[in-house]
Subunit: 156 residues, 2 copies
Amino acid sequence: MARKRFDDSNCSVARALNQVGDWWSLLIVLHAMYGTRRFVDFQQELGIAKNILCDRLARLVENGVLKKVDVGEHGSRFEYRLTEKGRDLFPVVIALRQWGDKWNPAPDEAPLDLRDRATGQPIQTVQVQNAEGKPITVRDVFVSGEPTLGSKKDPA
Amino acid sequence: MARKRFDDSNCSVARALNQVGDWWSLLIVLHAMYGTRRFVDFQQELGIAKNILCDRLARLVENGVLKKVDVGEHGSRFEYRLTEKGRDLFPVVIALRQWGDKWNPAPDEAPLDLRDRATGQPIQTVQVQNAEGKPITVRDVFVSGEPTLGSKKDPA
DNA sequence: AGAATAGGGTTGCATCTTAAAACCAGATTA
DNA sequence: TAATCTGGTTTTAAGATGCAACCCTATTCT
């Protein structure tokens, strides 16, 4: 049977995964953040089948993550660029990259060294912070109006 | 043909997606963060097929995101709990939730109000920060030793 | 004790999705 | 005009998914 869809789930994480939660979409967004814009470039960099790339690009455009821009001097040449919605996935991508670097480091090479242009310094680890800016974990959080996330049924 | 795997990709995002990048895995982790531990509870809350749930739980255990704990008073009763690696996905999940809340809000209901237990205040929006703690976007970042992410080929 | 039920799976089958490669048509380039 | 580049669509085979039906081991009910 078909994959289950979460378009109308009452969980925003499920709905988000519905848009960028498959194997390729987030990688496409990642490469778009690196500056890739052209169909052929995505295809080469990702090693993705053309039909799948077509489908994913179309879906990302449909969901407003990318926009398809006609840059044809005379006709049919396109670029896929991030929208603000797409650029807003930056924290998600970075958090995922840092998680991957921490828990599944490449055996040989050093992780990507991302730096802030203004300071030249490496960026910080993405964290969840409380109102005072202090980093917190899943155990420090509760859903307002509901029992604590980690109390009666303490995670992990 | 088979889905392409990224186990040995030189990109840590790809490797991360290989572990938690399918439709269900991150939702399972999310619910684990909410306190769900039992097979039947995951099944009911997620509405996932049992064979798929089996497969995903096994894969998450295999990847060290969950651990399977035998809580059988006399025998065969199990709990699936987050490991530290799994708990460390917290920023990813929260960033994704906030992105979903912002860009695909539920038509009717308010987004989940997550609060810090210590202060009682809502948690902050997850951001990428530079060394000074200032939020930065994808355009502010460059890869050390490579051309700026957003310069010659400015994203978006 | 014996029957019914819950927990945690496995198996089969029909349907979707994916990867890979072939094929296409409109611009460009040589 | 012939070869290429771009961005796709089509075809085919192998996987992945969803669903329902079974299974086996505890518990719980009668």
